[in-house]
Symmetry: D2
Subunit: 137 residues, 4 copies
């Protein structure tokens, strides 16, 4: 599990006075990129090797609103890695340790030419790192 | 079912050359607001009556990338209305009629003071309109 | 002069209840792309020919706030074209015909390899179209 | 002068592979809010006292592109404070200490009811702090 903090920006609020729900999808990305970097899979290295991992699905439950200036802590981990698909899960908490969001994002692997990649055969080192970091594996 | 069109803007693309996945959540909102307006539930009127319908969940499958300049057609309808919860569903298609996204968003009703509202008792006319527009009801 | 309409989206508002000032920069882009398309300079064609026209400066005066649901009309025109630099000017109005924003954006021309392009020598047809559409020229 | 760092996010890039120019307006806001907080004028306190300081103008020169993952350092200071208007100036630099952007934003003061406020008479303590922090004053 990896911890990432996001400070809520003014431009992320909407006229309801709370963070617009679309922004949490961006914070999920921020925390995911930070997590991958922490396990040696930084985005630029993968990109240089021709591997892209697009989002193919998101599933999010908004549990509490968040507000301008709040520091949100995001727990991100790998829930599942099938060798083809990769599922991250996220729990976001406010300063009072209340869960404000739980969510998942699903990813696959494609080459920079758009072809599906199977990490185990194409990039065994990448496959090994992902397997090692599946939560509770 | 309601049809809404969104033209992909340059600022909605990312360095992969395609629309960033967070933007589709915003297009879902655009189409939902347009749909609600078309059935007599425009946002401003609801707001004046003190009813807000926040997003409590989204579930999205990204099926194909979309590109700058494309005209995306969005079919939006009410999948379910329980009297408390409201679920919209969305199908987005590109010009070649290919499905690029399917998704759902879940909503509840709260007063402008933050209390849960049951439309049937608090706003029977709102309840009636929603019931009438549940897809295949 | 070219006219472009933008409908204010919910996600463009901030906690002050008005449109966040960063979004107008995006509307300027929307209207500029629409204008260029209307004079035969659509973005995709330019891109295929290897011409990019990045923003090198913006200068904006916010004159009145705008609100969710409003239809904003944007007048966009070429204020100046020196053969190297291109300056667009913008006037945005609300439904009551009140000016809500005036602004300018400055652009140059670069090849897809990042080199400065002089349209007159590299793309005489592009140069000719731009010259013809300078306001009051 | 106040220093603020912003790490470039993936969702801030566009199809040119660089940061979209609208995002720098948001970073200016981030750094300005951080600066004001550092001199005792945090946003929430001002808001509780009924003071809002909307942006009435921005003027930006984009000098170099910035890229995903880069750490951008932003120098922000008060260029001018007339007692009515407040002008901030910004210099953004990349890791190689190259200036990527210079800009200014202009602000006034309004009450939460929308009336113009003169800090000197309405909030002398606010006026004093601002005067003290004008660069080279």
């Amino acid at each position: 599990m990896h911890l990432y903090n996001h400070k809520v920006q003014y431009y992320e609020t909407d006229k309801m006075g709370i963070v617009h729900h679309s922004n949490y999808i961006r914070w999920m990305e921020e925390s995911r990129i930070s997590f991958l970097e922490s396990i040696g899979l930084d985005y630029s290295t993968l990109e240089k090797r021709g591997v892209i991992s697009p989002v193919i699905g998101v599933n999010v439950r908004y549990r509490k609103p968040t507000y301008f200036g709040e520091e949100i802590s995001i727990e991100v981990s790998i829930k599942e890695y099938t060798g083809i698909k990769l599922i991250f899960m996220y729990t976001m908490k406010n300063k009072d340790n209340q869960v404000v969001l739980t969510g998942e994002s699903e990813h696959c692997f494609v080459s920079d030419k758009g072809h599906i990649i199977i990490p185990k055969t194409a990039f065994p080192d990448l496959d090994e790192i992902l397997l090692k970091h599946v939560e509770n594996a």
